[in-house]
Each structure stands twice: as structure tokens, then as C-alpha cells.
Symmetry: D2
Subunit: 476 residues, 4 copies
């Protein structure tokens, strides 16, 4: 769609006022019209038109014949839009006006009748709430697919030893499953936040009109019901003025994107030669013909960057809303361009990471080797003393001193002898050798939620069950 001619703009202005002396300026048009964005809401707009028409007919505001003609025209418009054959004209200010124009072309007075008891303010708010509900569902599905890919890896090698890091320094040996499930746990809460956002948005603005409802005997509960909302609006000013439903969606998305960036960062690290924990699949990385060993983790990098995109969108919409008096202000039009772009980027990044994770191969030997370097054994010795009644700080001090003496002699804890251990405390006599191995350290940690393979398997099963419950609910 190119810019409209002054004539077309004058045509539009006819909708506002016969009294306006001048067509809107081109710059006003450029600033205010964004069909590329709101055109993406055509499905929602048609659904809202249908529900509104049904309600008007049921309330006796539209005659049955008019309602039937409208239904027919809506079918036609839907076909045109779905088939990419709908023609926008220069004077179409937004998708809502385009649809009404086309309905009128197709059905005459029936098209002219559909906007009864409605204003663009409540119509737009309803369309956008519907879109946000769908977006929350799509993002949840994306998170669940990514979690599914992680869980598949857990199934494959969840019990393998892996280093656990703090400060990016190996701190304690854990299992690969525990590491991967940490990300699944975060994504699960993200799905919960998206569901909460969708639920709180579950209120239908239709019937609020411009801001003060209508004098017609409308039935907002009926339109709410048909569109799958839990309830109609509770305050007609709030219904057209509030955008916290989009803010909450973006906030949930921004937090999910931060979690995704943490996984992205880990994959970038794991895929380095230096860490060497993972081999990426060819289909999910980019390379260089000159350096065949190089596989760039572009998907993980762009997933990491998505945190910036979504956070930027959240900030944009928070700032747009800041300090706005009630009810509707034109500032709010920006909500859609901001939200749609951010949601789209996050969807793509989630899909990309799901594919990347599904296709990667963990290098279990390298993980095990690094797990051995992450020495929990000193802590275990101290806890062994604690079990004998030695106060923790003293136990910690004594083992620290032992470790220090060994280090001064350039020996690691793995090389300590049974005698040296017994000299610290008789109860440690049997704690040399394999007692100090990474596997033994992991095996001694049997708490639920911990690194033990059984705990990992149980947690993975629970995570799968949670996803299954969500999926069932979605598809119901």
C-alpha cells in the first residue's frame, strides 16, 4: 500500500466530519496510519464483527435478514483476507475501517449497520485482547517445545556427570540432567506467567463504546461468551483506557526472554572449543569454508539478543502509558506495533532454540572430565565431620587447613592418603580415593531437586507431566 492521495485522505476525513475544511496532511497520515501492523489483526477483527453482529441480532437491533446478509459478507471478507486477495484502498485508515468498507460494498446497508452500539475504542481493545490471548498461547507452546527438547536430552544423558558452576568457576560436580532441568524449571514458571497474563486479560471490552457504553439494549455478556472471554468489562472507561493486559504479556515475555538469554549464553559457552561441552548440528549453526572446525552458534546468539528486543518493547509500552490521563488517548495506538514485533521475535527465538537443542550432541567425556575438576569433596569431608558433631565452621576450617597443606605441597585433594585424613579426624579414615570422586559426590546428594540421577529422573517426569497438562488444556 502506497501513501494515499489527498483525495483519498479527504474521503477518510468524511468519516470524521463534513465540517472539516481541509484533508489531513500527508505527514499526519504517515504518522497515524500503520496498516502493516494492524492488518495482522484481521482474524481477530472478523471474529469481533461476527460476535457483535450475532449479539445485535439476538437483541433485536439487527433484523434477521440483515444479520444473514452480514454473515454472508463476513464469510466473503474472510475468504479474501485468508487468500491474500483482499484489496486495501488508499482511504483505509486501519483494518477495522477496511473491513467495514468492504462489508458495505458487499452487503450495502447490512455493512452500514454493523457498527451499531460500538466504537473503535472498544472494538480495537477487544481485537487486541484476543490477539494477546493467542500470543500467550503461542509463546507457551514455544516454551514447551523448547522444554521438550531439553527433556529429551535429559532422557538421553541426564545422569552423566557435569560440572556445576558458580561465578563461571567449577564449584561442584552435578549431573547434566540437573543443569538442563534448571532451565526447564525457569521456562515452566514463564509459562505460568503467560497463563496468568492471559487470564487477567480475560475481560471483553465490547459494549464499552467510546468510553460510556451505549443507549442500545446490548448484551455484552453474550459477545464476551461467544469470543471466549470469561466476562464482560467491569468499567467502561477502564475497558478502553487500560493496556495492562499487553504490559503483563510483555513483562512475562521479557522475563522468559531473559531466561532464554541465559540458556543462549550457556550454549555459546558450551559450544566453544575451550569448554567443548556440545557439538551443534549443521542445520542449526553457520560455518566457514575456510575454517571447517568453526561452527557459529548464531541461533543461540540471536536468542540471547532477544532479551534486548522484548525488554525494549516492555519499556516502550510502559513509557507510552506513563502519565496518560484516562480514557483513550491516541498514544495507545502504539501498543500494537510494539507488542507484535516483540512477540514475533520471541516466537522465532524459541523455535530456533528448540531446534538447536534438539539437534545438539553433548560431549559426555568432556563434561565428566570437567566435573572431576569441580571438587565438592572438600565440602563432603567437612559435612562428614559435621555428622560427627563438629560445629560446621570448625569442620570447614580443619578441612580448609588440610586442603591448604596439600596445595602448598602441590597436591590435590584427590591425592590425600587415608592416614592424612584419619589424622584430621578418625571418622575420615575411609574417605580417600573413590570416596572423593565426582560420582561419589553426586551419589551422596540424594535430596529431591538435587543432582542425583534418581532425583533428576523424577524431576524430568514431573516437568513432562506439567507440560502435558498445559497442552491438554490448550487443545481442549
Amino acid at each position: 500500500m502506497g501513501a494515499p492521495t489527498a483525495g483519498a485522505r479527504l474521503l477518510t476525513v468524511a468519516l470524521w466530519s463534513g465540517r472539516f475544511a481541509a484533508a489531513p496532511a500527508q505527514e499526519l497520515w504517515d504518522l497515524t496510519v500503520d496498516l502493516a501492523t494492524d492488518g495482522q489483526l484481521w482474524r481477530e477483527d472478523l471474529a469481533v464483527n461476527r460476535a457483535h453482529a450475532h449479539m445485535l441480532a439476538a437483541c433485536g437491533i439487527l433484523a434477521p435478514a440483515v444479520a444473514a446478509a452480514l454473515e454472508c459478507a463476513l464469510d466473503q471478507v474472510e475468504e479474501e483476507l485468508a487468500g491474500g486477495r483482499f484489496v486495501f484502498v488508499d482511504s483505509d485508515e486501519d483494518v477495522h475501517m477496511a473491513v467495514e468498507r468492504r462489508l458495505t460494498e458487499l452487503a450495502g446497508d447490512a455493512g452500514r449497520a454493523v457498527h451499531a452500539g460500538r466504537s473503535r475504542n472498544d472494538q480495537v481493545a477487544t481485537d487486541f485482547r484476543l490477539w494477546c490471548r493467542g500470543a500467550a498461547a503461542r509463546l507457551t507452546a514455544g516454551l514447551d517445545r523448547l522444554s521438550g527438547a531439553l527433556l529429551d536430552q535429559v532422557d538421553r544423558a541426564g545422569a552423566a556427570l557435569a560440572p556445576g558452576y558458580t561465578h563461571l568457576q567449577p564449584a561442584q560436580p552435578v549431573t547434566l540432567g540437573l543443569v538442563l532441568l534448571a532451565h526447564v524449571a525457569a521456562f515452566d514458571r514463564d509459562a505460568g506467567r503467560l497463563a496468568a497474563a492471559a487470564e487477567r486479560a480475560d475481560e471483553c471490552p465490547l459494549g464499552a463504546g467510546a468510553l460510556a457504553t451505549s443507549t442500545l439494549p446490548l448484551d455484552p455478556a453474550a459477545t464476551a461468551r461467544e469470543l471466549g472471554f470469561a466476562r464482560p468489562f467491569g468499567n467502561s472507561i477502564d475497558a478502553v483506557a487500560a493496556r495492562d493486559f499487553a504490559l503483563e504479556l510483555l513483562a512475562a515475555a521479557a522475563i522468559a526472554a531473559v531466561h532464554l538469554s541465559r540458556l543462549g549464553e550457556e550454549v555459546v559457552l558450551w559450544a566453544t572449543d575451550e569448554f567443548g561441552f556440545v557439538a551443534l548440528d549443521d542445520a542449526w549453526s553457520t560455518g566457514s569454508s575456510m575454517m571447517p572446525q568453526k561452527k557459529n552458534p548464531d541461533v543461540a546468539e540471536l536468542a540471547r539478543a532477544t532479551a534486548g528486543r522484548v525488554q525494549g518493547a516492555l519499556v516502550a509500552l510502559l513509557t507510552v502509558n506513563k502519565g496518560l490521563p484516562l480514557s483513550y488517548n491516541r498514544d495507545l495506538q502504539e501498543d500494537k506495533a510494539i507488542t507484535l514485533t516483540a512477540v514475533r521475535r520471541l516466537e522465532l527465538a524459541l523455535a530456533g532454540m528448540a531446534g538447536l537443542i534438539a539437534g545438539c550432541s553433548f560431549r559426555l567425556d568432556r563434561l565428566e572430565q570437567r566435573a572431576a575438576a569441580a571438587g565438592a569433596a572438600a565440602t563432603d569431608l567437612a559435612e562428614r565431620l559435621v555428622a560427627e558433631g563438629v560445629p560446621f565452621r570448625l569442620a570447614h576450617e580443619r578441612i580448609g587447613a588440610l586442603v591448604g597443606r596439600l596445595a602448598a605441597a602441590h597436591r590435590g585433594l584427590a591425592e590425600v592418603t587415608a592416614e592424612e585424613l584419619a589424622a584430621v579426624h578418625p571418622c575420615l579414615a575411609g574417605c580417600s580415593g573413590s570416596w572423593l570422586s565426582a560420582r561419589a559426590c553426586v551419589d551422596r546428594r540424594r535430596l529431591p531437586g538435587g543432582p542425583h540421577p534418581e532425583a533428576v529422573a523424577a524431576a524430568a517426569a514431573e516437568a513432562r507431566a506439567r507440560i502435558a497438562r498445559r497442552t491438554t488444556k490448550e487443545t481442549r
Copy 2:
């Protein structure tokens, strides 16, 4: 507390390693130590110490006598902290180390025993989750008090006529109650978001240790229960690495602060001479001895600015978390300074606005006069035609033309005659005069959630009931 001497810093470093050759540099200390912030979590730290000690005793890790000595020392430390008599020393790196030091001074080995099976990583995460839970409750109470003040004004004058604005232009007459309840509706959802944040954070990290749990036979479910958490951690890496509980709290707070800024903006506007809708109470505004008529709405201005503070905090913590590999990184220490300041500002702003609203007097005559200027009557005439079966766009056009003719003759719609109306359509014959008044326009809008006094009263009652349910739940 001044900066510690190098000696004191060396003392601290003793906790890290006897092998460190040098005391930490002063700049490292300045950057890493922030007792002014984490000192605010002393209540939570004591609660965590108590619960942990009880669990250790119940699990047989602490002897009964040790546990009793610890309890006693904890009582004493609590008294000292509550009474402002607790003395921090130079080497206290944070409130957790300060408490353990003092426990050890008071109870010797019992103090040295309390950290068994625990790491600063899970301890800090637990303290901070507790604090966030309390913060959510305090913010909810603040929102409810503000809503209560608005509802009191609705009780006083909810049925009074008021102008409803779009684009800050009077659009339709409504009632003052509808306007005030629009803000209450938004704050109610904010309370819902805070509750959701608190609920999702309802997982106790204690037992996760540094990141890999412990070899001791701990009972994380017991500490979770004593501290009022719904459940213990589900993944020990996630337990020390995740900060989405604080992010979600800040996101909910940021959205609430945006809502507060919209109310603040309205109060600033209403308090202008030009709008003249409200008179502020002396105790809640600032003035000028030279311009006695001037009352500055400082509280509303600072409430408006709070949106910036809280949004800034949300951005800060999102950015801090972005791209961090798991599990704990020192970056996360910044979470507390960021969150505490923002929550405190929002609490103060909510309290300020509750007082301001409670103390202000609406100028009902002025509101009514402006309501009359917000002419819904033309819309009502068009809807009257729609009720007769005229398609909406045609009805809209005909009334628009009538309004245009009147305007060309410098007459308002209020001056239209019965004859002129009848000429448009016979059904409009009776719609002149008082039919066109703002009060009649409001009276014709009887939908729930709309401006009609009865709808307003019903909505106010529901809002009060929701607040009452929350308050009951809180105090249970």
C-alpha cells in the same frame, strides 16, 4: 559504618582462604559490600536462621543443647537488631556474616554450627524471597488503601455528573463514580499481579546449598513449611540462580506505578485552575506565601514520577540477569539494592496518594458544568434512529448533518427544536430539551460497568468486597 581497615578486611578474607596472600583491596570492598542495603533484610535472615536451626535439630544434626543455645542467642540478636543496638564491625561483609559472627560471640560453638548444610547462595535467595513476599503484601495493602480512599469518594459523590474524556477532549458525560472506579479497577488487577508474583515465588531455596544440595540428611520440606513457603525448591541450580521472583514483583510494581502515574496525572490536571475539578487539602499539598491561591500537587507529581523509578529498577534487574550463565554469579547481588529502593518508593507514593485522595474535595458544580459540554446527545439521537432500524452509518450521517447545519448557524445541539428533530425522523420528535441533557444521557446508559449511578454503586460494592476478601486472606 565507615570503610574497614585493611586488617579488618584481612580478617574477612580468612573466611575465604588461609592461602590468600593479600587483603582484598579497598576498592573491591567498596564495590562488593553494601550493608546499608542487605542490613534491611535482618528480620528475614533471623527467621531463616531459626527455621534452619530447628530443622537441623529435628534431623539430629544439631544436638538439643546446641539448638537451645542457638535459640537463645537468636533471641538476643533479634533484640539487639530490633532495638538498634546491634553493632556491626568492620569485617562484616554482609548481614548474614554479621549475624553468624554475633551468634558465635554469644553462643560459641552453637553459633559455629548453624551454617551446616547451608551456603550463602541458598541462604541469601531464601532471605530475599521472604522479603519479596512481604513486599508484595505491603504493596497490596498500599493499593487497597488507595482504592479505599477512592471508594470513599465514590460513596460521597459517585452519582455526580462528570465529563468523560478521550484525547483529553470531553467526549461523553459520565459520573464521577465511573471515573474513580476506572482507577480502582486497574489497582485491583495490580493487586492480582502482586499476589501471583508472591505465589510463584513460594518455593524455598534452603537445602540447595551452593548449587548442588548437601550430603547431610536435611529436610528442606520442614524449613519450607516453617517459613510459610508452599514447597521446597524443585531444582537446586535454579534455586540459587533464578531471580524471576524479584523480576515478576518489579514487573507487577512497574505496571502498578504506571497506573498510579495515570491517576497522578489526572489529579494534577483536576487541581489546575483551568480544570478546577478538585481542591486539595492543605496537609497534602505545598503552597506559596506569595500566591495564596496556589496549591502545588507535589504528592501527585511524585506519584507520577514513581513510574520512572520502578520501571528503571525493572530494567536494571532484567539487564543484570540478561545473558548470565547458571548458577550463581556475583552480578545477582545487585538484586537487593535495585528492588528495595523501588519498592520503598512505590510504598511511599501509594501512601501519599491515598492521603491526597482521602483529603481532597471534588467541585461537583464544575464537574457538572463540564459534563454538559461533553455532548453524548448526538450519539444518543443516532442510536435512537438505529433502534428504529436505520443502519448505523446512515443514522450517524444524518445526525452529523443536523449537527453540522446547527453549527453553521452557531447553534449547539441543545438548542435544536422538536420540529427540526422531527424533520430528520419522526421518532426524534420528543428528543429535544431535557432529553438532550447530560443527566438524561447518563440515565439512558444502564449497562453494568457503565456510568449509571446504580451501576456505579454496584461496581463500588463489588470492589469493596474484593478488597475485603484480600484483607481477610492477608491477616489470616
Copy 3:
């Protein structure tokens, strides 16, 4: 452009490596390819290709005949792109690859030769720096046009009385010129910031290669010169890794957008019935056929909202860059989508506001009436006493007491008698009546930069001169 087939994607991957076993996944393609964005940089890409080819020829790396063939092909590609006839194919990963592909189609080996001594890393960075330089110039021109519109209004009615506000309460009478020039002053600094951003970005990355320059005898100074950069890169890693040139542009744009939002807010207020300071032009506002008096200031509202959009972009790019190791990471690709959208919105908003301001009519009678309500006179009386040697606080107190006595008798300061004034201090005897008028208050304030009409005229002349200097520089 639709999504490419797997075959096309395999074709692309040929550029990376013959060893890759699999075509890139569709999701990887969707996430990584954004031709709609980088296609907007085609002008810059062609300029860079030309400069690079010229330099290669001058350095003897390209034979004269090859260089000539390349020039010819570049002309053709430019014609195709400018004319909208350039055909992108499915395997075009970005505009740079598309251009090189087309050059090769047109000129064979000459096209294959153009990428010598160059990498996509330095090429993209150069393209984008050029684009940012142009963006800074366009935004500056937009600011200057808006300032020009404000200055035209100053020329028309700069000396008219207007209320000066603090806390949105009338505080002191000023002149309309002073008010409008306050915005001009802010936009002038914004232009300075944009110039500074462009200047600091004035370094050409070409020659930095992937990150480590090249072994060919390139002349980076020559390409820098031809592309109008002040100098070539100073560090080849920094050249491909740094994006602070875009961050500084966005920061300058975000601050300008905040200034624009403040002007937008004022216009929205001025255009209310309640303030009534300005009448908007039909071509620059939207209306309602049902409420002919209503003119919605959509342009000012969207200008206000632009602050959100640009700030969101700044946050997005800051967060994308946060914590990235050097040198190039794929995260950086997001820079363009973020920056281009934000700059475009700000350009449109500046153009819209320039038109809106140019077309609006200030209601001077209403401004003067409100100026009278903004009583500086009490301050002037106090300063009159100060001029007699009374310490300021005492003077302030005495006049405050006088004002208080009058107010208690429901009299304004304008009604004070000469006798009452003389009773406070003999020097005030002549200060009743017209001495207290708003015009007199303004006339007594003769400092440069103040409200006096002469000061306003002088400041306006200086502002025009600054703009003229910038414009001359631009067009040179």
C-alpha cells in the same frame, strides 16, 4: 519475499561450507534473515562497494578492466534498486549477498572479485555507520523544521502575555515567546547531541576485515576519504565489535523524543477546552462529525508516545550489547531493526509536530487572561523592598503577611490600595494598580533569556542564526 525453499537455503550454505551435511533449518532462516530491514541499507551498501572497488583498483588489486566492469555493474544494480526492479531471490541471506550475487550475474569474475580484502563484518559496520550519519542529519533537519515552526509563531505573537507554570499551576506571567523558545532551546541541544554522535561515529571500519585486517596492501584511508569519513578505524577488533555509534545516536534521539513529548503534552493541554490556548488546524487534527467542536490532537499524542518508542529502542540495543565478549557476535545483527524503526518513528513525529505547530492559532486573549492570574506581583513587591535593603526573607515575610490579610478579606493583591502598600513600607506607595499588572511584571524583567519582548526577540534571532549555521553546514 517468501521463505526460501530448503534448496535455496542449501545454496546459501554453499557460501559457508561445502562440508555442511544439512541445509539450515527453516527456523534458523526465519530467525536470522531480515531482508525487510537490511534491504533499507542498499544505498549505503552500493556506496561502500564503489569505494572499496575504487580503492582495490588504485592499490593494484583489481585490474583496470575489472574495475571498469564492476563500476558498470554497480550502476546497473543501483538503477534496479532505485527503480524497484531489483529481484531478490530465495537464497539472498541479506542485502550484501544479494548485491554481490547480482554483480556476479552482471559482470562475472568482476563481481566475484569485489569482496577481496573485506569481510561481512567490516562491510556491515561501514554500511550501518553511513546510515546512522544520514539518520542524524535527517533528524537534525526535522528538529530544525519544528524549531522553525515555533520561531514563526514567536515572530507572530512572541510578545503576547502568557501564564508561566510550575507544578502546572500558574506561577508568573511571561510571554508566549519565552514559552515557545524554551522548547526551541531544548531542540537546539538535541541537534548538538546528534551532531556529536555523527562526529564520534566518523571512523570507517573498512579494512578491518573479519576482525584482524588483511594481508592485502589495502588503503583504508582512501575508502574512508571517499565515503566521507574523517578517518579509518583505529582498532580492527573495535571496528567490527563496537556499536556505541548507534547507541549514541539512539540516546540523542531518545532525549530529543522526551523533549518532543513535553511539547506534545503542552499542545494536548493547550488544545483542551479547559486551557483553550490554541486552536488546531483541521489538516492536523482529527474530529468527530457528532461533536463538531471536538478536535483531537492525535499528532501531539503520537509525538508524545514517540518517547516510548525511541527509549524502548535505546534499551533494546543497550541490553543486546550488555556483556557481549569481543569481537563480532551475531547478537549485533539486531542493531538495525531496532535503530531503523525508532529513527523512522521520530522522523515522522517531528514532521507531524512541525506541521501541527505551523498550522495552529494561539488564542492570545485567553493566554493574556490566564497570565493575569499568574501573580508575580507579590514577588515584585518583595524585590522592591530588597532593593531598599530589606533582607529577602523579611521582605518575603512582610509581603506574604499583606497577601494573607487581603486573602482573609477575600481580596486579591490587585485590589490593594496605595495606602495599604505604603503602610508596609514607604517605598511601595507607588506600587498599586497598573504597577501590579501582568504586563508591568513582564516589563520589569529585562534580563537576557527572560520574558521581556526584547529579550525574546533577541533570543529568537540567535536561535534562527544557529539553525542557519547548521543548515549551511549540512548542505555544504
Copy 4:
């Protein structure tokens, strides 16, 4: 300072109006008073008081004796504040009122006279601009010290081989100097931005009064001069309403903090066992007595997190300013708490990183080993062909094919024979063995700004010279 009693608050209100019936509410006080923040501006406030007093005396508004008494009292107040002996009282609303109160206690009417021709609006703006100027200088010094530490490391080992990364994959061998200088280059631009911010803020608001200047014969140029500003305000409304000077400072600081986060990330990576590029000094890291090999890079982590803090502050102040009408609004009070905290964090992080860098030891053997893995040699072979006239893409393809063949035989490029090379092209006959080494690759890259040791030395010398010029300018 605790909260003031209602009596003290009533005392304060006396400054506003004798007509106020009620003391300000405690909540209003809590929300509006922040002495902990603005108390940090006492040095600036005293400087402003001195300059203002001198100007008043020079203009004949203060008698010489009064001026002398004031000077004396200012000396005394300065001593008290510098010595920590100044006593704030409950009714001190801010540091400005506290200072004036104390001056009045010490010097009676001279204290009461100092506020002539001044308002808190212009006074606060001047104080804060002075503070921001000082902050820019301190941050610049911090950046320069950090750059100095990096340059010292360049002096030590700038010519050592190091891997150059793209996508965190080794891409080409470079020198350690080139890597470190990339950070220095970014910090140098940051210093430039801070200088630009300070320069643009170089306008003195004193004399603007509340917003409309004064009727007294003030000399704003004189106060500007004494306070070291380049010029007095150009528009009195802008002078009290604008905060872009702080926004620009924060924007420059936020970009610098992003750069610091990138260095922080690199140090964290370099300090891992897996990369192993650097050993941190004991004094600049934290450790664990149980894992003696573990040295946590806390300083680098907190430096990385500082990007979040400063960006959050920038967002906060942008959002606070968004949509504010002119001139002063109380919202603007938030500027100081926001800015001071962020600047302080960045100062500490810069100091911390300077120390960390100064104290760390690069492991040159490990760097050299990884440099060898970053194979530029294939590119060099292709460029060798280009030098013979082979079009780049063909050259690239042929070498790519060679590399592919070798890889298929599990051989690296380093193992290629002279015969194999000659088979590709005769000119490559001599390019086996040491020609392919990392050192040779670096030695062939002689462009200024590149990795060659001579280029590095030259760039380091230039960087030192720029810092020296800044330092000289500062101390002048």
C-alpha cells in the same frame, strides 16, 4: 535524621504560607524529603551561595558589611559540613533550606538576605549541574585509570599472540595488545561523550528564578563566570525545566557501563579454567578455602552488572521526564537520587576494574596456544591468490576445497605439503610450514589499527597521548 515531628513540619510549612491550616502529613514528608540524597550536594550548594552573594554585593543589592558577614558564615558552615559537625534539624526540608537556616543562625539578617533574586528552582538546577560536571570529570578519570591499567598490560605483553574471536569461536590470531586496545578505544569514546555532556551542560541557571527571572538588577554572567560555567542561561523557563544535562550524562555513563560489561565478561571468561588466559590477583578476587584453585572474579561480575544499574537509572530519568509540561514540576526532584546512585556505582566499578586489570597476569603460553587454533592461514592463502589476480570468490572457493579435502582426511591446514599447495596454484608453493603459523599470519597484517606489534605499539602511544591531553586539561 529521623522523621520530623508534626511541629517541625509545621515550622517548615511556615516557609510556604501562613495561611495553611494544617501541617503537612507525615506521608507527604516521607515522600518528598530526601536529605540523604540532596545532602550530598552541599559542596555545590555552598559554591552557589558564595557566587550568588558575591554577585549581589557587586550589583549593590547586598551592602558590603552584609556580604562580609555572609562570607564569614559560609566559611563556618563549610567547616561544619566538611567536618561532619553540621547538625540537620527536623524541619530541614532539603540541604538548601538547611544551609540558609544555619547562615541565618550564624549571621542573622545577612543569612536572611542571601536568597534575594533567587528561587529554589534555579538554585537546585545550578547545584545539580555543578555536581554533574564534577561527576563527568570523576568518571572520565576513572575510565582513564582503567585504560591506563590496560595500557600497562599492553606495554608488558602487547606483542604476544592471542586468539581473536567472532561468535566466541577463535577466528584469527591477533596480538594481546590489539585485544586490550579494543577496550581502550571504546573507553576513549566514552570519555569523549562525558566531555560533550559536561560541555553542553555548561550553562548557569542562576538568575532564572522560579521561571521568569527577577526584577532585581542581577548579573547572571558574573555568577556563571565565578562558578566556571561557559555562559548564563539562554531561556529562563528552560533553565529550570530542562534535565537533559543529566540525561546526557547518564546516557554517556550507560554506554560506558555497557563497554565495561563487555570487558567484565571477557575477564570472567579469561579467568575460567577452560579459557585459562589470566590469573587474578588475590587482592582483587574472592576465593574458597575448600577449593583453593577457585578464584572468583567478583569485581568483573559486579562491573558487568553495573550496566544494568546505570541503564536502569537512564530509563528512570527518561521516563520521569516523559510528557512533563514546562516548567518545573516536582517530578524532577527524583533526578538526584537516580543520578547520584548510578554515578557512584559506575565510579566504584571503574575503580574496581582498574585494580583488577592492573593486578592480573596474562598466561601468554595459553594465549599463544589458542592463537594457533584460530587459523587465519586459509584466508591468507586465498588472499595470496587474489594478489595473483584470482577473483576473490574463486580464490576462496579453491582454498575452501583444499581445506575440505584435508579435513576429510583428518588433517589440518598446518599439515599441508608444498606440493599440495603448488597443485592449487604455483604461487602457493612456498606457503607451507612456518608461512602458515599464527605468528606469520600476524606479521603479514601490517595495517595501522591491526594486530601487528608495531601497529599495536603505535596505537598504544596514541592512546596514552590522548589520556595525557585530557588529564592536563582537567588539572588546568
